[in-house]
């Protein structure tokens, strides 16, 4: 507004505060509009932050000991201390487009599963807010079937005085999603590097070094009948190869998941077929 009015509107009644000039009023109005603009911008961006709540129905694997998704999202302070303590770097922080809360931790089991090579679930110990916890507060009851029947026994420390993992709830449950691709069901063996030479995933092998996880690519296999998911499962009694009867009456071998499964994802990471025959159903509960 460049037309300058030299005479401001006359104010016949004297007021305690002097009337604002036209220019001042205009600049005030513009400032109000700019304030509204910044308000809208920041709140708009803020509302986009709510998307993870809408997507929270989508299942994804959180670190061990995580609260239920909604409670997890409310309590996670997004510091990444769980990321820092993980010896196999299984935990990653989510980015903007992952739609699960910027900076919240998650695990992509196929790329790098949690193999409990820390022995004590270090991420739970590191969490400052109780998002990951051994002891869920009483007012947050678990969903039916999410609880474990007994504390899971970690095979790696089966001979230690305290062989269990201090976990009361499962992260998810493993399921044979593509039985037609499973080498065990086909009666095939496996020889070589599972997941190929370029795979970066790591795991601890007790016969190599208890305290130093190594690359899976550096640990080739030669098995007459594939049982990698059972062989490498870190939890006692969580999975086994059983003889099952197909609908046509023929007998065959198949990996079968049992109640102690915590959903760590080692079976999914180690499965040699592409895409994997066995997957973790994140936040799934145990159904008998």
């Amino acid at each position: 507004m460049s037309d300058n009015d030299p005479k401001p509107a006359a104010n016949p009644t004297p007021s305690p505060t002097p009337p604002l000039s036209k220019a001042k009023r205009q600049s005030n109005r513009r400032r109000f509009l700019r304030t509204a603009l910044l308000t809208g911008g920041v709140l708009g961006a803020g509302l986009s932050g709510f998307l993870p709540l809408i997507y929270s129905q989508k299942k994804r694997l959180r670190p061990p000991g995580a609260l239920d998704e909604k409670d997890f999202l409310s309590s996670c302070i997004k510091c990444g201390q769980c990321v820092q303590v993980c010896p196999v770097q299984a935990i990653k922080l989510a980015d903007l487009i992952d739609g699960m809360g910027v900076g919240t931790p998650h695990i992509d089991a196929r790329q790098q599963a949690c193999d409990f090579s820390c022995d004590a679930v270090q991420c739970v110990l590191a969490c400052p807010t109780g998002s990951l916890t051994y002891h869920k507060p009483e007012f947050l009851p678990g969903r039916a079937g999410v609880g474990l029947a007994a504390k899971p026994i970690l095979l790696a420390k089966e001979n230690d005085p305290e062989p269990t993992l201090n976990l009361t709830e499962r992260m998810g449950v493993a399921r044979l999603t593509r039985p037609e691709a499973c080498l065990a069901i086909q009666g095939k063996g496996f020889k070589g590097q599972t997941r190929g030479p370029g795979f970066k995933g790591r795991m601890r092998y007790m016969d190599v070094d208890r305290w130093k996880p190594i690359k899976i690519a550096d640990h080739p296999y030669d098995v007459p009948e594939c049982d990698l998911c059972v062989r490498e499962c870190p939890i006692k009694g969580a999975i086994s190869i059983e003889t099952v009867f197909a609908p046509d009456g023929t007998q065959r071998k198949s990996p079968v998941v049992h109640e102690p499964c915590v959903g760590c994802g080692v079976c999914e990471m180690i499965c040699p077929v592409e895409p994997t025959a066995i997957t973790i159903e994140a936040r799934e509960v145990w159904k008998t």
């Binding site: 910044l38 709510f50 303590v85 109780g130």
Partner: protein, 325 residues
């Protein structure tokens, strides 16, 4: 503390929440005498011109601050990268040699959203509360917050462009920050989700420095873009609730900037470099209520005014320290 300073103390708290600083209604006789002495004093004007012409530009405090800020943030990065476990975590929550430290605003958001507080959260928040209450509250902003440093560099570009008359600083109502603080607190409590944490540039930049960059940095870039081309230091001045949280903590802090009326030329260079010039209203001619006035809680104790002041009228001060020595 005189009743005038007491009144000013409470006024400065209002100013932090967004009120405009006002002219004082009453000024102490000693200060009044100084104001009167300076009025139209030709010797003083000549002295001022001389001092400004010969003023050496110092960056003492700025350099100390930048080094501190960079070291603090680098310590996070290095701790993770080399796994030396000195400062684990990010700015939102961390462990310094095993001891919990939790950002006050993040802690508040989590407490409001989750409504359940565990011991580690209390320990970490309490430690940080005491630490920043001692060190000056918003000292966090200018001495630790990594977004502050980025914004300072963006500000330099903004000022360069403004000098070339390519951009003009568009001011925004400062009450907005208090409104945002309330809105984000209410949103956290009502929805059970710490939504501010999703857009907090402090958290985003801190995590990017430690865990690698992500797309969330685009939001930070958008903010910096807004600050360069539209409104100087907009996020820190008008929006960031973290700043207000730490500001409140700093109300009672002993560390602050102290203003001495006697030597001041009222030429206003300090207000030009200040992130929060409303706290320096006292340096305006005729406004100082006492001969010595502490600067209010919204001050980030960045020291730019101390570096800029040609007469040493602004300096760092620790309340009570002068009494001891």
């Amino acid at each position: 503390m005189s009743h005038l300073l007491k009144r000013r103390f409470f006024e400065q708290i209002k100013v932090m929440f967004g009120a405009e600083p006002s002219k004082p209604k009453e000024i102490a006789p000693a200060a009044q005498a100084m104001h009167f002495y300076k009025k139209g004093n030709r010797d003083l004007i000549a002295e001022k011109l001389h001092a400004r012409a010969h003023a050496e530009h110092k960056n003492t405090w700025r350099n100390r601050r930048w080094i501190t800020l960079i070291i603090a943030n680098l310590l996070f990065t290095v701790s993770f990268f080399f796994d030396i476990q000195i400062l684990e975590g990010a700015l939102t929550a961390s462990r310094f040699v095993g001891f919990h430290l939790i950002d006050l605003n993040s802690a508040l958001q989590v407490m409001l959203a989750h409504k359940h507080i565990i011991n580690n959260l209390i320990i970490g928040t309490g430690t940080v509360l005491v630490l920043w209450a001692l060190l000056g509250g918003r000292t966090f902003c200018s001495w630790v917050c990594p977004y502050h440093l980025l914004a300072e560099w963006a500000e330099k570009i903004h000022l360069y462009l403004a000098k070339k008359r390519l951009v003009t600083d568009q001011t925004i109502d400062r009450r907005l920050r208090s409104v945002f603080w309330v809105i984000f607190a209410l949103l956290a409590a009502a929805t059970g989700y710490t939504v501010f944490e999703a857009i907090s540039p402090t958290g985003i930049v801190s995590r990017a420095l430690i865990y690698g960059p992500g797309l969330a940095l685009l939001w930070v870039l958008a903010l910096l873009f807004f600050e360069v081309f539209f409104s100087r230091r907009a996020w820190c001045r008008y929006a960031c609730p973290i700043g207000l949280t730490y500001g409140v903590v700093g109300i009672i802090s002993p560390v602050r900037i102290k203003y001495k009326l006697e030597g001041c030329f009222h030429e206003g260079d300090c207000r030009k470099v200040c992130l929060v010039p409303h706290v320096l209203d006292t340096v305006i001619k005729g406004r100082s209520v006492e001969t010595e006035v502490p600067i209010g809680p919204d001050c980030t104790r960045c020291g730019l005014c101390v570096d800029t002041c040609p007469t040493g009228s602004l300096s760092f001060d620790v309340k009570g320290l002068s009494k001891i020595s």
